[in-house]
């Protein structure tokens, strides 16, 4: 390698080139990380104990926050939609308007963002601490693949739990909306649920399902990757945790738009 410094007018180009190569390397490593984890998922043995612990951690322990955010999202959406719909004299359609918004869009996105904040950040911190305290190296020198013990079970747990969490968020959103629509705004319960039954079809539910499945992979992939390749010390773990939350949140929104434009209306 030639270590002679370049003439100063060329240095910005050198820096740009270096940044591009570093960026591409990171992107490749990010993709290869998911590829390896998926490959491990399809080759036995599956670490069932680790999977169950992750399902409990990502899914069960996120329940309270999902119940709360689901209910309040439904309630506030009911208020806002009522305000809009009364201007057109269409308040009878409050139920389906709210249900479609929640099932197709808000349920998968908001529950994924909430789980990212609660479980994704903790997952990054946990794996990051395992890295800096050499626990991951300990697995490696035991001739055991840390991806099989830490990453693959997390990604599978994300795939299994996110659709369920989203379904719970959706149900709470509809109930929250029902409380506001029926008890506060005076709509009949029959109208609320009847119109939902008429206008919400299977494609809406499947759209939400596919989105939640993808978000489950995105959140666990980003969180485990950032923990696995953490920097040095407590500061490195803190930085990785922040990066994981920010990156996962951005990817959720970008992927949501992509899926929203590809999946059938």
């Amino acid at each position: 390698m030639n270590d002679t410094p370049l003439a100063w007018p060329l240095r910005p180009f050198e820096a740009l080139g270096r940044a591009t190569i570093t960026g591409l390397e990171s992107l490749g490593r990010f993709g290869a990380f998911l590829g390896e984890a998926l490959l491990i998922l399809f080759t036995p043995p599956l670490k069932v104990g680790a999977l169950l612990r992750r399902v409990q951690f990502i899914g069960f322990r996120s329940l309270i926050i999902i119940l709360l955010t689901g209910a309040f999202t439904g309630m506030v959406l009911a208020l806002q939609l009522y305000l809009t719909l009364t201007r057109f004299g269409s308040e009878a359609f409050l139920g389906p308007a709210l249900a479609i918004s929640i099932i197709r869009e808000l349920g998968p996105v908001l529950s994924a963002l909430m789980v990212t904040g609660r479980a994704g950040s903790a997952l990054t911190a946990e794996i990051g601490i395992m890295r800096i305290t050499e626990q991951i190296d300990a697995l490696t020198v035991m001739a055991l693949n840390p991806m099989r013990y830490l990453v693959a079970p997390s990604i599978l747990a994300g795939v299994l739990t996110f659709p369920l969490i989203t379904a719970i968020f959706d149900a709470m959103g509809l109930l929250g909306g029902h409380v506001i629509a029926v008890e506060l705004l005076g709509l009949s319960s029959g109208t609320y649920f009847g119109e939902i039954k008429t206008f919400v079809d299977m494609s809406d539910i499947m759209t939400g399902f596919w989105k939640s499945l993808c978000f489950g992979v995105i959140v666990t992939w980003v969180s485990t990757y950032k923990g696995f390749y953490v920097g040095h010390g407590a500061e490195g773990v803190a930085r990785a945790t922040t990066q994981a939350v920010v990156l996962a949140s951005v990817l959720i929104l970008v992927w949501d738009y992509f899926m929203g434009s590809v999946l059938p209306f």
């Binding site: 395992m130 050499e134 190296d137 035991m142 055991l144």
Partner: protein
Amino acid sequence: MIKVQGLTKSFRRQPVLRGVDLEVPTGSIAVVIGRSGGGKTVLLRHLIGLLRPDAGSILVEGVDITRLTGHEIDGIRRRYGVVFQGGALFDSLTCAANVAFPLREKLRLGRAEVRRRVRDGLAAVGLEEIGAKYPAEVSGGMRKRVAIARALVTEPEIVFFDEPTTGLDPVLVHTIHNLIRDLHRRHRFTAIMVSHEIPEIFTVADSVAMLHEGRIIEAGPPAVIQSSANPVVRRFIHGEIEPGTDPQSH
């Protein structure tokens, strides 16, 4: 026999190892000494296959592990036991579960055999009673001993110790060294230890190698190192300050 030849490694163009040569006969305890930040741990991480060198070779019973793929090196690692500097115990598992982990996952032994070996392993380090506790609930010295028990429970042929007594009081340092000596007498493993516990380490080692500025500058039996004429070795083992590095003189 473990043979290191011309091992070099740089990080961001900063050379850390500049051609390390080292030989460790089978069944002996070799200790690598040297100043903090001198590359001892980097050398050890090459020996256990966690780092790849820029050049040079590491022969373990004639096999150059620097040329093996990830899968192939696992075959060599199955013969290893490693005690990390901080213990590297799995903090989500109890001490007993930590010791049981390589037996269950690496050797795939049955439940009764695992239980027996864990009991014996913890007894060998004098910690039968703390099996149910988590690493965070025991002292630093106990953690190191549990880490030693975990490294030795699979009866490895080669054991690596990365500064196993760092941060411990002199009594515990003595206890851990005695324990290593005693376990070595019983199991006859080959051991490579990185340490700067002078002069305590001379009672444990069969051979000592001094790593300085990325090279082994002197190696031999403890008595030879202790009576070395090399001024760098003499200054290090007597704890003397190198000329021009005394902060008080500035």
